[in-house]
Amino acid sequence: MYKYDTYDQSIVDARVEEFRDQVARRMAGELTEDQFKPLRLMNGLYLQLHAYMLRVAVPYGTLDSRQMHMLAHIARKYDKGYGHFTTRQNIQYNWIELKDAGDILADLATVEMHAIQTSGNCIRNTTSDQYAGAAADEVADPRPWAELLRQWSTFHPEFTYLPRKFKVAIIASDEDRAAMRLHDIGLQLTQNEAGETGFKVYVGGGMGRTPMVAPLIRDFLPAADYLSYLEACLRVYNRYGRRDNIYKARIKILVHEIGADEYRRQVEEEFLHVKTLGIDPPAEEFERINAFFAQPAWEQGLSDELDLSDPDFKLWVDQNVFAHKAPGYAIATISLKPIGGIPGDASADQIDLMADLAETYSFDELRVTHSQNIVLPHVRKADLYTLWQKLDAAGLATANLDLISDMIACPGLDYCSLANARSIPVAQKISQRFADREADLGELKLKISGCINACGHHHAGHIGILGVDRKGTENYQLLLGGSGAEDASLGRITGPGFDEDGIVDAIERTLDRYVATREPGERFLDTYRRVGFETFKEAIYG
């Protein structure tokens, strides 16, 4: 894991003091709320329905037990004893008081954490593959590149007031576990035929009101040009992205309106100039960062044998454990989706327990996933049963990874001032309705957003739900056929929406049709793509 040096620490410490000063000026009335808003947003502080919400950055989703314990401490001391893990691999607290914000940031800074650029029209926290550094299918660990990007983008003076927020994801496998092509910039670490490291660069993806899958802009970007090229991509956007309409201000609209070819031409032209400025750090800086991500000291010669005689344990292993690159090790996902619970929520006690388990069983490392779960990336297979027992005792052993109850849901109208409808009660009802048959239904990514901003990724759900306001009542639209994986696609709205119970019934009709028409081994998404939209529409509306 990356460790701060004095430079990193001085920047984060200065930020704490700067934000204390900004809060003090706001509380003294020297700053209007309008002037304070972009400053607090740049620091992850939102004014929500009931209180301030603070979003804390977990860069590329990686943290250690000390940091995880701090997240529990903040939940206990400043919130109501829990936190909510988000689709940007961050955590947010929903009951924060403005006067405490400076103290929270100071606490975070003691464990090399911050809330910098977790909101605002700037470059947001970079996300990555939650299995980075552990997955057998990666070409290299993408996180050193994400850390390089974190540093470059932190307080980037030119890109602090972009037309709109800007999200980057970096992966290093052909299997996309980070919804890479649904980002403003998606990067895939790769090697060319000469064996050199570089990136495939996708620009202009995103969800929200106008969802788009990002087109390929650069087939192979040499690693040495990494930051210069990103600087060129951002500069073209900062200069020419639309600022007349907030709903058309994301880079996807620019790329769509001028076309991928013209955007690419402008970026390449800008890049030729930017490359002369000496923005890219030398290879030694990458090597310095890369050394922090060296493989843990995995034990050699471990057995891959696993005693699966306990049927509940076997269920969990089959569902929540993923292949590790080292013999005798496994990647374990801790589901934060108990049946009928609030997706992504964890109590302070649970957060502390996960930190302790990471320290004991996973080389002190945890990951937050974009689907709102926690991963222990390096667990000895011999320890899995003990780990599972401890998780089970804390209500953290739900065996539902990638099943229907492992859904993404935004906070919705229960918390969010932008929402049109509640997400959480719908999520809970779906979870309860289908829990008994979810193993049979297989991989099924269901995603719920409480408004058109799509924080719950509904466009990318095999089944998506969008909450809307219909003449003053909450109404839920159903979408089918989306995917945030390497086969990225956008869901299609089936037809008229439903009320809260109606949407659950409509999903049941959808799934009954799937079960009746699937071929052996087909996931819901596969069946949908094979038999088509109309078959399901007919099942839903009759």
Partner: protein, 141 residues
């Protein structure tokens, strides 16, 4: 409270800034004002004889001027680069980093607050237009 800030040693330029269109028409002006939607690169052939370029910030959220500032400095412009408009205390630092060395805010600023803001960060992560060495440069010499 101050109505203008200037971080240059030379005498203030007195000639009023003309619009970009007017400047491109009449080649003898030495001061020009760039609106936020105008292309700074149109000035690149004329930088040698410009003493003042004023970049408009109609709203603090409109960040196009930051790119304009850097583009002008990257092309070698050494004259006064003035940010004018909705310029607030917390925008001065990134503006300085993008090459601005004079400020004409719509509303007066507290010079003490500006000084605090400018002195707060002893380190930066990126190379920009202000000559500060980024952390990676300090790490590796």
């Amino acid at each position: 409270m101050v109505e203008g800030l200037r971080y240059r040693d030379d005498a203030a330029h007195e000639e009023p800034a003309v619009t970009l269109d007017a400047f491109l028409d009449q080649s003898n002006a030495t001061a020009v004002r760039l609106e936020s939607d105008e292309d700074a690169r149109k000035l690149l052939p004329f930088l040698d004889r410009l003493a003042l370029i004023e970049v408009a910030f109609p709203a603090f959220r409109d960040g196009r001027g930051y790119s304009a500032g850097r583009i002008l400095r990257e092309a070698g412009y050494t004259g006064e680069l003035r940010a004018a408009g909705d310029v607030l205390v917390d925008q001065i630092l990134p503006m300085r980093r993008c090459g601005f060395d004079a400020f004409a805010p719509d509303k007066p600023l507290d010079p003490a607050a500006v000084e605090r803001a400018l002195g707060r960060y002893s380190n930066v992560y990126q190379k920009a237009a202000d000559g500060r060495a980024p952390a990676w440069k300090l790490r590796h010499g």
